[in-house]
């Protein structure tokens, strides 16, 4: 499908949550409301404090199937009737399952809000889980797993996740594998539903063109559709660092370009130096004028984009650098990135860089709270990911306090250029040997066919 050729958004993230009202719900859940009457739309998010990490070993993909099955039939509606009704109401519904949390997102034209909540309540509280629909959805999921291999970026992300977190739940994908999805039975899906869909495990969010009092009343109906039950405990422990420099080369034919991810363990939202590290990372690769972007794109033109990212979850997540140079430039680009990382870990950032990025992050916070939807999702993140209560609301104050020594101590303590994983998606016959040769002190290395499941 053709599309405009769009430049990458030149921005980075900073945030503060406010103007969201929180209420407790009977049964242990919570409600968060952010009113905005600018456009006659209402969004409803049902956030769950648990995700695919709760899938039993060998049953990976069960939670995601349970969420997707909700629109495949309820006691009162067939799958077709659900889809027809959503369209008729001018509504959309989607589900999202990640390792530590899950969500159902809905949006509807305001005049149909009541009818939309009726439908949502039926789907949540009275799912039918028809067996023929489950079989159909499993076949659909298996086809999607094959199709996902067309995306080199997705292949790189999958290989990175699997190897940075080897042996840890963060290595698993929420979708599961061909083997686990094939083996999932109706009872596994029902069990996943019973685990996650309980009152104490949810945080409800309303935003948009809805009065708070009405949101409260509708939220009680939605929560009341769920069984009583406590929140699901997080089964995930802290991941461990894997020593040495490693290379995973994902071999795919005819690649003129490579996808490269380099990194290791990063930050936890509960670290005392979390904000200091995030700020330093923004200097390194979190903005359009960052070191990585300047060296890789602006000076050399090697990659359209060059970014460094710190992922955030309940436990320590990954630090990663992402570039996508032409195959011919890939070895040099990897060498440069490792050099830049070594310099970053050894020397950190300077006062001028820190001052600049603090202005950027501080002023751009306006765009993290400029819509009701963004404010609501901050509040829900705090709730379901167990972030510190002032994670967003205290961000600006913590940002202002970050000093050069603090930023550099955080970089030195949390990041390393020694224990790093390099993932390359490219054509191995043409490139793998050159990549291996250019990584100093490379330890374990392997080539993985792009269409192989592990």
């Amino acid at each position: 499908m053709s599309a405009p050729v769009k430049a990458p958004v030149r921005k980075a993230k900073a945030a503060r949550g406010d103007q969201v009202t929180r209420f407790g719900l009977a049964g242990g859940g919570s409600l968060h409301v952010a009113e905005s009457h600018a456009v006659p739309l209402v969004s409803i998010t049902i956030a769950f404090r648990s995700g695919s990490a709760s899938d039993p070993a060998g049953k990976e993909g069960a939670a995601k199937l349970a969420f997707r099955m909700l629109r495949r039939g309820s006691r009162t509606h067939s799958a077709k009737e659900i889809e027809d009704e959503l369209d008729r109401l001018g509504a959309e519904l989607s589900t999202e399952v990640s390792v530590s949390s899950s969500a159902i997102h809905g949006q509807v034209i305001e005049r149909n809000l009541g009818a939309f909540v009726d439908l949502l309540t039926a789907l949540l509280g009275e799912p039918a889980f028809p067996e023929d629909e489950l079989d159909r959805l499993k076949r659909e999921t298996l086809a999607e797993l094959v199709e996902a291999r067309d995306s080199d970026r997705a292949l790189a992300q999958q290989a990175f996740r699997r190897s940075v977190f080897t042996g840890h739940p963060y290595a698993r994908g929420a979708t599961g594998t061909r083997k686990t999805v094939t083996g999932l039975a109706l009872e596994d899906v029902r069990a996943a539903y019973r685990t996650h869909f309980v009152q104490g495990n949810v945080a409800l969010g309303f935003c948009g063109d809805v009065e708070t009092t009405r949101a409260q009343s509708l939220a009680q109906r939605i929560a009341g559709a769920l069984a009583a039950g406590p929140r699901v405990p997080d089964p995930v422990g802290a991941p461990g660092r894997i020593p040495g420099r490693r290379l995973v080369f994902v071999d795919k034919p005819e690649r003129t370009q490579t996808q490269i991810l380099i990194g290791g363990l990063g930050t936890s939202p509960h670290d005392h130096d979390h904000v200091a590290l995030s700020v330093a990372n923004a200097v390194f690769g979190g903005s359009f004028t960052s070191r990585l972007m300047r060296e890789v794109r602006s000076k050399r033109g090697w990659s359209y984009g060059a970014y460094a990212r710190l992922s955030v979850d309940k436990q320590r997540q990954a630090f990663s650098m992402w570039t996508f140079p032409a195959a011919t430039d890939a070895p040099s680009c990897i060498a440069l990135e490792l050099e830049l990382l070594e310099a970053f870990v050894a020397k950190g950032v300077d006062a001028r860089e820190l001052s600049f990025i603090k202005k950027f992050l501080g002023r751009s916070y306006a765009f993290d709270i400029d819509t009701a939807s963004k404010r609501l999702h901050q509040a829900l993140d705090v709730e379901v990911l167990d972030l510190p209560a002032d994670y967003y609301s205290g961000y600006l104050a913590r940002l202002a306090e970050v000093t050069v020594p603090q930023a550099n101590a955080a970089v030195a303590a949390r990041l390393t250029a020694d224990d790093v994983l390099v993932v390359v998606v490219g054509t191995a016959a043409e490139l793998e040997e050159k990549v291996r040769a250019i990584i100093p002190r490379l330890g374990e290395h392997r080539v993985v066919p792009f269409d192989r499941e592990e």
Partner: protein, 457 residues
């Protein structure tokens, strides 16, 4: 006081304080849902469209130029897009890299996009930084410096962009081939990102000539949505842009596409596990009366999980994994595109059998009343979703102004949709979904990706 009088008075007050010859002219208002877009023009032809929105202390600023890949020549394809990249470089007043630094220091979000008919540049900033954006944008409209080193480096960046968008992307490669095959005369035949050989051959002189030809105030529209003071904003725009010279914009040189008299088809092989089909029918221009009914019909056929083809090919038929369709929104007639990905074990022939039967059905029979209701609700939802942010509003205003000359056309389309009957949709099907005007791109696996490696290892 009547609203028009207020804006006339504001313009008069702005002009009274002018130290130069530049004047601001109030042109009129356009209803934009419950709000109003106010139109002004500067003496040099710059169009200014303003929408006050005080829901957050931020401002969204778009600069639209009526230049895109349709204005290029064979051998020079991709110039509009390469040039968009170069606009973030050096000016007579700013060293290379300073543009982005100044915006980032202000906490701005910024980006840009180029397509067949237009190019835009966008910044969203806290409201107290609006003055900086106006200075930066007016400066690069007139004072850009194009040096060999920057052009060389940016060509390499764009070549890399092409590799990930097209050369290593199955759908991107198929889409490029579809337009190349379906159009033989019109400049929509080449991709906006350009052919690789053309990208690599550009010189600073090519870029400079393009800049002098198309980047002028009388070829641009500035759209501002957000929390601003109208008089102060107009003074700033006058001071920043007022003295820039208008240019002689060459008349549109795109050749009309002759009617396609027989189906065209191309087959390619790619390292993918499954077969893919891309179909294009010659469609209406955005401003044609047939555009709205064909868009509604597309919702009935492909819009969401309840649509006819999604059920027939994905959920119930289990032939496809992915299925999408889109009526191009171009200034001249584009394509009605349909993209389908077969599941393992299914073929393009399986897809075509179902697809063409359903397309024949909407030429023969009218859609049901319920299908029409659902399609209208889906399009209404889509429009409202596009207006949730200031940037979204500014983009809608600028897009419709640039392509149709009417910043509020999005809402007028909604009214048109509401009036549409099932008979209107059938007429659109009969007019546009015709076999002789069809182009198909068939993507076949080249055998390197079987999807069975798991078993092999």
């Amino acid at each position: 006081m009547p609203v028009a009088d207020i804006h006339h008075r504001i313009a008069a007050a702005v002009n009274a304080s002018s130290k130069g010859s530049a004047l601001v002219h109030y042109i009129g208002e356009h209803a934009f849902g419950p709000s109003k877009v106010v139109r002004y023009a500067l003496s040099n032809g710059l169009t200014v469209l303003l929408l006050l929105d005080q829901t957050a202390p931020v401002v969204s600023y778009f600069t639209w130029f009526k230049v895109g890949s349709r204005h290029e020549k064979p051998g020079k394809t991709g110039l509009a897009h390469l040039f968009e990249h170069l606009m973030f470089n050096e000016t007579e007043h700013l060293k290379a890299g300073e543009f982005d630094k100044k915006l980032e220091e202000s906490g701005a979000e910024s980006n840009a996009a180029t397509w067949v008919d237009w190019t835009y540049y966008h910044e969203s900033v806290p409201k107290d930084r609006l003055g900086l954006v106006i200075k930066l944008e007016s400066d690069r409209m007139h004072n850009l410096v194009l040096r060999d080193a920057q052009v060389t480096s940016e060509k390499e960046v764009v070549a890399n962009e092409r590799r990930f968008r097209v050369d290593d992307d199955v759908e991107g490669a198929a889409s490029e081939l579809l337009y190349k095959t379906a159009f033989v005369e019109h400049s929509y035949q080449w991709p906006t990102i350009g052919w690789m050989d053309d990208i690599q051959a550009f010189t600073p002189e090519d870029c400079d000539a393009f800049y002098r030809t198309f980047y002028a105030p009388n070829n641009a529209t500035v759209v501002v949505v957000g929390d601003f003071n109208e008089k102060r904003l107009l003074e700033q725009l006058r001071d920043a842009y007022g003295e820039l010279s208008a240019a002689v914009i060459p008349p549109d040189d795109a050749c009309p596409e002759p009617p396609q008299l027989e189906p065209r088809s191309i087959e390619i092989k790619k390292p993918t596990a499954t077969e893919k089909l891309l179909v294009g029918y010659h469609g209406p221009a955005l401003g044609d009366v047939g555009h709205a009914p064909l868009t509604l019909l597309n919702e009935v056929l492909f819009g969401g999980r309840a649509s006819r083809l999604y059920r027939a090919l994905v959920t119930v038929g289990e032939i496809c994994t992915d299925l999408r369709a889109w009526v191009s929104t171009f200034a001249d007639g584009g394509l009605y595109e349909i993209y389908a990905t077969a599941r393992t074990g299914k073929t393009i022939a399986d897809i075509e059998a179902v697809l063409y039967a359903e397309l024949a059905r909407v030429r023969d029979e009218v859609v049901t009343a319920d299908e029409l209701v659902r399609a209208k609700a889906r399009l209404e939802l889509g429009l409202l979703q596009s207006l949730e942010t200031m940037g979204g509003k500014a983009e809608q205003i600028g897009f419709y102004e640039t392509v149709l000359g009417d910043p509020s056309a999005a809402f007028q389309r909604l009214e048109v949709y509401r009036r549409m009957t099932a008979s209107d949709l059938r007429k659109a099907a009969r007019r546009y979904i015709v076999d002789r005007g069809r182009t198909t791109i068939r993507v076949l696996p080249d055998g390197s990706a079987t999807g069975e490696a798991e078993a092999a290892h």
